[in-house]
């Protein structure tokens, strides 16, 4: 198997005195979709924050495209090709929908994603392009947040709880976009608490509990019962 696009080795992370991650080993290969699942507080979001540079970590604990990037500044990591869809969407309220998307291209690499491509993936955003970002519905805001991350033309897209607070039918719409993102060769790490959607799009699953990987495998190879056991630890 080829060298993974992203590899974490013995990744540990702390919030002050509180240790959130205890030696995470995780691989994402080119074009692969990884599901990162686990209960609240398992460390899923911390893994994403450590990878995208929002949490200080040891330099040699994260390798991306052949370079050690652990602890690098977040704004430099974007330039190397990792974009993040943050939990809670975090659109900029002072900016219009279009300005939010354009800001996503602030440090863009060359690649297939442009404003027009994002608008064709999420046509509703084109209709609302001049509206303030906060006037969008929850699902539209999630689409804008995904579109904003795509504008950077990432090789790896990190999605933190993109179904959070959305109605099931809206979650289906948001998830429907993931295959076209993957079709451009982009790898994804999708963090979710609700595993039913994510298991359908992911090739492999990592289940976290209390800051450790407790189960990993291909998403069709794992039995639901094993996932349930790993997830809850009982």
């Amino acid at each position: 198997m080829s060298v993974p696009l992203l590899a974490t080795r013995g990744l540990t992370a702390w919030y002050g005195d509180f240790q959130a991650l205890f030696g995470i080993n995780l691989d994402v290969r080119e074009g692969e979709v990884i599901a990162l699942i686990g209960a609240n507080g398992a460390g899923k979001s911390s893994v994403l924050k450590a990878v995208c540079g929002l949490l200080p970590v040891a330099r040699d604990s994260v390798r991306f495209a052949g370079t050690l990037i652990g602890g690098m500044d977040a704004h430099r990591i974007v330039r190397r090709g990792i974009a993040m869809v943050p939990e809670g969407r975090k659109l900029f309220p002072s900016l219009s929908v279009e300005e939010n998307l354009r800001l996503g291209a602030y440090a863009a690499r060359p690649g297939p994603w442009s404003l027009d491509r994002v608008f064709s993936l999420f046509p509703i955003l084109a209709e609302r392009r001049d509206a303030p970002a906060t006037s969008l519905s929850g699902g539209q805001q999630q689409m804008a947040a995904i579109g904003r991350a795509l504008m950077a033309n990432p090789r790896l897209l990190l999605c933190d709880e993109i179904s959070l607070g959305l109605a099931p039918i809206v979650i289906r719409d948001v998830y429907a976009a993931l295959p076209s993102i993957r079709a451009e060769g982009t790898s994804l790490i999708v963090v979710e608490q609700d595993i039913s959607q994510v298991l359908r799009v992911a090739q492999r699953v990592y289940c976290l509990r209390k800051g450790r990987v407790v189960l990993e495998g291909s998403s069709d190879g794992l039995a639901r019962e094993d996932i349930r056991m790993a997830y809850f630890g009982m």
Partner: protein, 288 residues
Amino acid sequence: MQWLDIIVQGALVGGLYALFATGLSLIFGVMRLVNLAHGDLIVLAAFLSLACVQHLGFSPALSLAIVVPGMALLGYAMQRVMLNRTLGGDILPPLLVTFGLSIVIQNTLLEAFSADSRKLHFGGIETASIRLLPGVSIGWYPLIVLLAAVVVIGGLQLALYRTRLGAAMRATSDDPVTVRLMGVDNRHLFALAMAASLSVCAIAGVLMAGWTNFDPLSGPERLLYAFEAVIIGGLGSLWGTLAGGMILGIAQSVGGAFDPGWQILAGHLAFLVVLSATPRGLFPRMAD
């Protein structure tokens, strides 16, 4: 007609107050930093201009060519080396550091230029005036200052709302963490904002120096007017800051017409009235 004249003169002074306040407003808007050394930086710019006039033989207007880029560089360096380290979390460290900076600047100026009161001479334009109506004349110099304020604020507004960098600044103002995920180096951006702020300080300082006397300790008073103009106008709104400066100027002018001793007091009272009527100012833009 006498009252119209008083109001017009007050509005013109407001242009100077707006120039004092614009840099303060910009910095607070972008990084929530209250720069207590702002007034002293304006006075520093005035003294730099004086030094250019005295030692290089420049005219005050020409000295802007040195003072503006010089203050911009100082602003960038000051933010990168010092103020960025005070940001994030507590509001107290930036206040303490800029308060200390204020004292350092005042005492450095005292050492270098003595406590004498100074003024710059713009070669006669300070006293030239045009008659608008019978009994209402406006001076060319105050008019130029007001126009400078309008151009500076208009230019900043364009930069904030029409450029990529401006969008990044507004986004940083919203959420300085998430903006890093867009590839924006927020520390560099803060330093650029401080450079812009001190460029405006430079213009304000040089124009102030041709209008009134200044000395090394006159910074805090400028800071007070700047604060009042920002608060009256509403936090984060640059055009509001211009309006705030004018309201302050008109209040002082009207108060001074009753009794010269009431001039300053009337400005502060107008500030209090606005603050108690609309605590968020007249044109607030910020959500918090």
